[in-house]
Amino acid sequence: MTATAVEPPRVEPPRPTRLNVRQRLSRWDVKASPYFYIAPFFIIFALVGLFPLIYTAWMSLHKWRLGASSPEKYVGLENYRTLLHDDLFWNALRNTISIFVISSGTQIVFALLLAVLLNEQIRFRSGFRIALLLPYAMSLVAVGIIFSNLFGDQFGFINTVLGHLGFGPIGWHQDTAASHLAIATMVNWRWTGYNALIFLAAMQAIPNDLYEAARMDGANTWQRFRYVTVPALRPVIIFVVITSTIGGLQIFTEPRMFDSVVGSNSGGAQHQFQTIVLLMVQEGFRNSRLGYAATIAWALFLIIVVFAVLNFLVFRRIASADEERR
């Protein structure tokens, strides 16, 4: 850390004036360089991240058609009033949260189970890890199409298998709950292995003495998992929940590719699995209502903030309850 505070010591005394210039240059180099090095991040983030997000708020106060470079007129909070009475928006919000809740709950349970399994002294351990991470690296567009096909209402592989087992076909696309389950399965397929590796890394950092102590106290496998592993993993679980909240509320590709009416952003014939970002894209780029789409975006931004804060508060509550118990 002190590296750059140290001036070059190899200063030869005989030629002081020239060296002064060099010294000054060198000092300037040391002082200014860090700012040049971090500048690209800040410039690009300001241009393509922060500015558009703030501008979204301003756009949401206007009537703005797609293709126009300036707003048609200022409408104040009119778009927000429309939003609050827009059944499609509430429907999309319900769908988004439903898919998110179904997926994240099961995902964490499965990822924990998988991490426990991977933490055993198994053969081919790195092979297993790599194979289980494979879905994470696959393209979502392809995955969406594959799952839409697997979950086909009439000729889908899953319904065929269910049929052979004596269960009636399930309307994976038509039925609201079933479609949410199918999309959540798609999300889990992609993320379970990834989260399992994160949990595994955290598990391996737990000191073995804790397990030894628990064993001496007579704790069985489940109790050791419940009272040693899970509490030690809590920060990592919080991290996973928060990141998956931010991602899960913005879900777009999975439901879009799942739609059997291709290229549609309506999330099924009755909008049964239309999510908020799908609605935003539909309003903005299909119905040309950019101002209203901006309103949806900004509303979603606020919802994400609320969720993040809620997450944080809930987990702080749990953490402080733990402290008391100790």
Binding site: G49, I130, V141, I146, Y194, I242, A297
Partner: protein, 301 residues
């Protein structure tokens, strides 16, 4: 086996102090291997993660009617290459592949370079406002920038960039995650003495970066590169909106394929297989590094 295990664990408790944890861990692991249940469950997970990918190859290598059979095929058929030829005929798949390769490569090089630069500054240089600025970088990771796509689209139209690759490349040129990742690595992997020595030898800052920091950053940079490439390759929403079908990336082309031939499952699945193949190759080569990267990131984060 059991007796042997017990003996070792009995002898274990008195090793030299420094190796206590290692030694106490070793005998427990040697006691017995995991049971069949562990392997059975792991295999179930494995089948679950591999099956959808296998399924696309199955469907892609048959003709379309095969999917509608009452007992669907479970082995590859012989139509893959004729289907693949049709994919290249129907959509601009070559162009899409080249576009995706350009986009993902440029973004990868740019992210790795800028992230290393910024990560180095945050890790090893002292300057006014450093901690506050770094905190800001971390905070931006929680900002859903995807929600800014509407103004971004207008911005790109103003520049005349819609339908052109820079519209996809520029927004991805540096990421907060990359800066965080490189900073975390350089803090512990780059000895401060090395920088001091280079400075003492008369290197200016940029030469220090070039000759000392970049070589030291290589392992973390490689992991970041693989991740960035995969993410850039898979990006969909923004390319879909800003590029359109005339100048698609692979994801947009697959989407287009599905839009035009939605009942021709064999054709569409061949397209998805072709689109995921480059990722599979990347994964086979770098799988180990990707796994290591995620696990290291988890411990640090």
């Amino acid at each position: 086996m059991t007796t042997l295990g017990t003996t070792t664990s009995r002898t274990a408790p008195n090793p030299p102090a420094r190796t206590v944890t290692r030694a106490s861990r070793a005998p427990r692991r040697r006691r017995r291997g995991p049971g069949w249940l562990v392997y059975a469950l792991l295999t179930a997970f494995l089948v679950g993660s591999a099956f959808p990918l296998y399924w696309q190859a199955i469907v892609g290598s048959h003709d379309t009617t095969a999917v509608f059979d009452s007992t669907p095929p479970l082995l590859p058929g012989g139509n893959f290459f004729s289907n693949a030829a049709r994919v290249f005929d129907e959509v601009e798949f070559w162009k899409a592949l080249v576009n995706s390769l350009i986009v993902a490569s440029v973004i990868t090089v740019s992210v790795v370079f800028f992230s290393t630069l910024a990560g180095f500054a945050f890790a090893k240089l002292r300057f006014r406002g450093r901690d506050a600025l770094y905190l800001f970088v971390i905070a931006t990771m929680a900002v859903p920038t995807q929600l800014g796509i509407i103004p971004l689209f207008i911005l790109m139209s103003e520049y005349g960039w819609t339908g052109k690759l820079p519209a996809v490349i520029v927004p991805g040129m540096v990421t907060a995650l990359g800066v965080f990742w490189m900073r975390q690595y350089l803090v512990q992997a780059l000895p401060t003495e090395l920088i001091e020595a280079a400075r003492a030898d008369g290197c200016n800052m940029i030469r220090v970066f070039w000759h000392v920091v970049l070589p030291a950053a290589r392992p973390a940079a490689a992991v970041l590169a693989v991740f960035t490439f995969v993410m850039a390759w898979n990006d969909f929403l923004w390319p879909l909106i800003v590029l359109g079908p005339q100048n698609p990336t692979v994801q947009v082309a697959i989407d287009q394929l599905q839009s035009s031939f939605d009942t021709d499952f064999a054709l569409v699945m061949t397209g998805t297989t072709l689109g995921t193949l480059p990722l599979l190759i990347v994964f086979v080569i770098f799988g180990r590094q990707i796994v290591a990267g995620i696990m290291q990131g988890a411990v640090k984060g």
